[in-house]
Symmetry: D3
């Protein structure tokens, strides 16, 4: 893929697919075959965290990566695989088979237009397995349908919270209180993005320790307030700003490598 | 359902599910069993319209309805059934079977938490059939799973662009140039919401006349620039502001009736 | 499509696909690429109406339209989407996903043989959403399978009870007692087709008023004898004869337009 | 199951489910929990046989069995699994997965109403495998949904053309010319039911010999005119009348055993 | 298909696909386009029979057939459709829809590599219907995907226990005590293959008589210890050795015919 | 779960589910609610590796873990998700949706019998995502079906090749030549299990370096002989013996923790 990798733009607006017209996308495809697809989840994030945390963070990071790299960003798939959180009111979950079908259809839509590299920025650990399964399914369909791009299309999953620099920063800031769910790092990011969330912050009792994830009833019993070993009260908006920058840097680099790779 | 129907709040933030915590939702369910779910689409809207038109409008109207009625609004399902638009770059479509599974899972998630009235605010005609099919499927599953709310849950689809007052206003403003797709009324709403879109507005040649919708290749041949009989150049931001208000009024009333009905 | 649109034949037998051989169909395809597919439902129609009403009427009208236009008529898909009637004994329903698969497979079978225009004559409101969703799915498959007719095939749904002339006649005959389900107009049609049904006719108490449709348990509670605002006792066989003629006229014209359209 | 096994009625009309009202079905269930479901196929039957042969025969036999036993007969599922006949124009086939879903949904609809014994009268060999698979699926669902009849419901498949007396009669009448598809015995039955089909009868060249069935393209190559070793020109209407009687006798006995079995 | 039908090899190892490398398979396909796929089941076989009986026997016979004919044998699909045995601990069943998908995917994998004749050796009656349904589905997909072998690929199901010589031998050895499930013939085969199973053999009370199969709860009530009319205590290892030979002879001949047929 | 965790048995035979009768499983469930399910794959492993590598290794390790812990081991699901290897002859792959359905059905079968802890021993990286997705699906179904164990059942995936001691040993033995696919460590294990495979071992040219995995055509182009950075010629049977012991030790400990955890 010959990719004229561009510099960066001043605003996220210019790289939002939902603000483009189809003729602009047609032009875009003349010089770039890559696109970013953010996926999140709508699920409980502890007694003080926002239910939309995983979608808000994935979207913000995707837009910042898009801004820095001039790569288009699609709308966010805000609902993900959150079956294990269904014991908590407000959680909205797609079954794995449903999320897989969603990603399959979105990837195939883009493949049909000639996109060759699709970069998913993911905000939720529970999406990872299903997304990878969906990739295998989508490669197969692209071949079955004999799409022109079938033999060269590539999908890549980028989980912002697993970037090394983000991981290290979270460790440095919060130590073991980072935990595994409703972590201060993701909460910090939402506080930066949405200051109104600050009003929810309050000291919390010690969380249930991190552990395994089984079914939704087990989850609620094991992690009664939804947190897994985390202390989100440690989160500050400025941490979030910093983490957003670190995540965007790391993923921009990953994306750049993804585009330039032969 | 005993519903303490509230007044209105000053900001859409307080009724966004994604900005709530699960404990706040638990409290909410004590006095209100209703929730709003916006669904849109990500598809071509003519050479000058935004690809995200249907999601942007559904979301804005849903939030305004939520604000006026104090009813929670979930995140927007931004991808809908847009198979017939797949001939135009940038369109991202879920197959009907996929969208049906998405809505099914989201409705069942909410039913599980005890929501009894779910009000979908829809921005895209192509979603209507699938949404109705999904409702029938979801009622059946609620019974099969023997959910406590199974015998009383109700789903309602509200298509903002089909509200009588909106329809009449669009006719008054644009006459026959309203057309059927990429209409000036929906474009106007996006111009109001997102002023940067104004830069795309320009006079367009006469559109292909409105007509039937078959498969994606036929659609592109029949409506070469994506418009169906519409002149989106007529759209002005202030029209959009007005239409948003009219749609929100009409749907708030529908929602109120939906909640209060025995 | 060059269509030699024929006149009419004296008997419905000559246009019934089930009475043709495959070689006759092969010949037929030389001069006409259109076919009619009737779909009905098998569901309660009030305490005095026949469970097969929607299939009997769709089939009779389809055959009459076929006779007048010389267009082949396939057998009737007698089972439709009637989930909301499952609270009444005798109702046999396909889930939306199942009916969608049925229509998908039937449309694709016909497309494979070279039929280019498939005209569904439908006798049941509950089938409409699913049929439309199935169309979108089938267009996609036709393209995925690279069928020769993929880019030109067209599906059209014709609901006989929504034809303007039928609607007006029903209003004139029955006024508000037409109601929404187990209507005197459809019952009249069955009395004309099947005189033995007359023995069931008897005065009924006032029906539950027309209203919304949610799940099957809600439906039974809301409409205890299955009727929605209708008084089927008003139905007379001669009304049915007249309605059949009106419906056949209207749909024959629709079909003719469908065939001749570019 | 205590079954008051009735005598017989004078007309098939009284046992047609589609001519009953739901209240009549409710009464019927007081004394009989059994129902007959005819399934056929819409597929090529050689150059002179009717495409609807398998549905016409299954329906006629089902109605006659119903008449003799006073057991209700549902409408006919006219479309079956005929994938291997898709190389011949006019064939309309449901994929096995689709037919399985259809039967599953119909069986579950009946189970929900309290039917405990469902007797499928089948006119097409190609449906057998799928019907049996659907039974296993439906038993599972009945248990999953915890239907009251789940532990006692029974499904039985009766293939009229495999009844011993029918088989012997066909052998006696046609010897090896009975063949395997488009057989004179089934054609004879259609000639009896629908005299207009007689006009298609004509001497045919020797058929391709009976053999295996693989995919649709192989089938057409192997059996160029659709017949498998059969000479349908031998069929006479009076044979059909006789075969109908023999089939109805055999299946009435099977049905009676099915009902009376503990 | 030009098939150089080979003689036999001294060990089953040389024809086990799982012990071959892909380059060896590539070579094999130069001279033989046929492959054997064994399918079994993991289900109760009475109080003394091994749960793996159907997979152990299918695998052993498949390997012996492969050894004698030099045709490759794939690994065994050990889990089959055993829904009706789910009332007995240890049974592991795939729903018909799942087993159908498994066979579909395996057949398509092999078709993609150029295999043209796939011979399933089956050890379980409950798999038959689903396997046949899967064949029809797979032929369709091969055509939809336009695989090079689509028009010539052939699938064949061989049920070893239904071979005439096996059937006659079982009758001669055990008479009516062969029964229908947990039969002495299949148990004998497992005793030959796995002598440790002898320790389970013990006299058993008279079995429930053979009869119909409905749902899992009915099955357990009807056949309380899992046997259907069989006396597996009659089984001896030497019977098994003999039956294995008879089955392998019969199926080798079937396979040879399958390969050589035009 | 009260688990009487046993010592070890002398032979793998006594813990093979397929060699047990249902009554023995019933007894087993009195004192242990845990079971091991091995899953593998049937796919190319380079020009000299066995196609069955992933199933052979998973099965051997599962049996050894079962032997040491006295926990039952089910038959192996030999076919896994290997879509990306489909470019190489001999690979047999289940689509992710199919493998997910298989695991779902197997887990639910076991759950129905009262198993509460199911430990999957996996031999193939490509199965991981799908297995995890299947777990979420299965927890949901267990609840939907209201199985008695629904709220306490636990599934765990153990990938033997990712055990720390195995990983370290492989690194020590092979350094960078361990690679990512067709690794000397897994090949060594097969050489130990199946000495006949030694005859395939030969020096190979430098492999393509390890890298990403996209679709099957890309995979074949990127890794022309199927290896990803590995030198399987380094593998010796004694390494395999050692690795088997290390894997069995590690997983026995994991299993023991899994059983004993509250």
């Amino acid at each position: 893929m010959k990719a004229t990798f561009p510099g960066q733009v001043s605003s996220t607006k210019s790289i939002r697919l939902d603000l483009r017209s189809w003729t602009e996308v047609e032009n875009y495809l003349q010089h770039c075959k890559c696109i970013i697809l953010p996926i999140g989840s709508t699920e409980q994030h502890g007694p003080t965290g926002a239910i939309g945390t995983d979608a808000l963070t994935a979207q913000a990071i995707a837009l910042e990566v898009g801004r820095r790299t001039c790569v288009l960003v699609t709308p966010t798939q805000s609902f993900g695989m959150a079956e294990h959180h269904l014991g908590f009111p407000g959680t909205m979950s797609l079954q794995p088979s449903t999320l897989s079908a969603v990603l399959h259809d979105l990837l195939l839509s883009l493949a049909r237009h000639g996109f060759e590299r699709i970069f998913l920025i993911n905000g939720h650990g529970g999406n990872i397995a299903t997304a990878k399964a969906a990739f295998a399914q989508a490669y197969g369909t692209a071949l079955s349908r004999q799409l022109p791009v079938a033999s060269k299309i590539r999908f890549k999953l980028a989980n912002w919270f697993m970037s090394e620099s983000v991981f290290r920063e979270a460790k440095a800031l919060y130590g073991d209180s980072e935990g595994q769910h409703a972590t201060p790092s993701e909460i910090a990011l939402t506080l930066h993005l949405e200051p109104s969330l600050l009003s929810k912050q309050r000291p919390l009792p010690n969380p249930a320790p991190s552990g395994p994830i089984y079914g939704p009833e087990d989850f609620r019993k094991r992690y009664p307030d939804g947190r897994m070993g985390s202390d989100p009260y440690l989160a500050l908006p400025k941490h979030g700003e910093n983490l957003l920058d670190k995540a965007a840097s790391a993923l921009s680099k990953d994306l750049s490598n993804f585009i330039e790779a032969l």
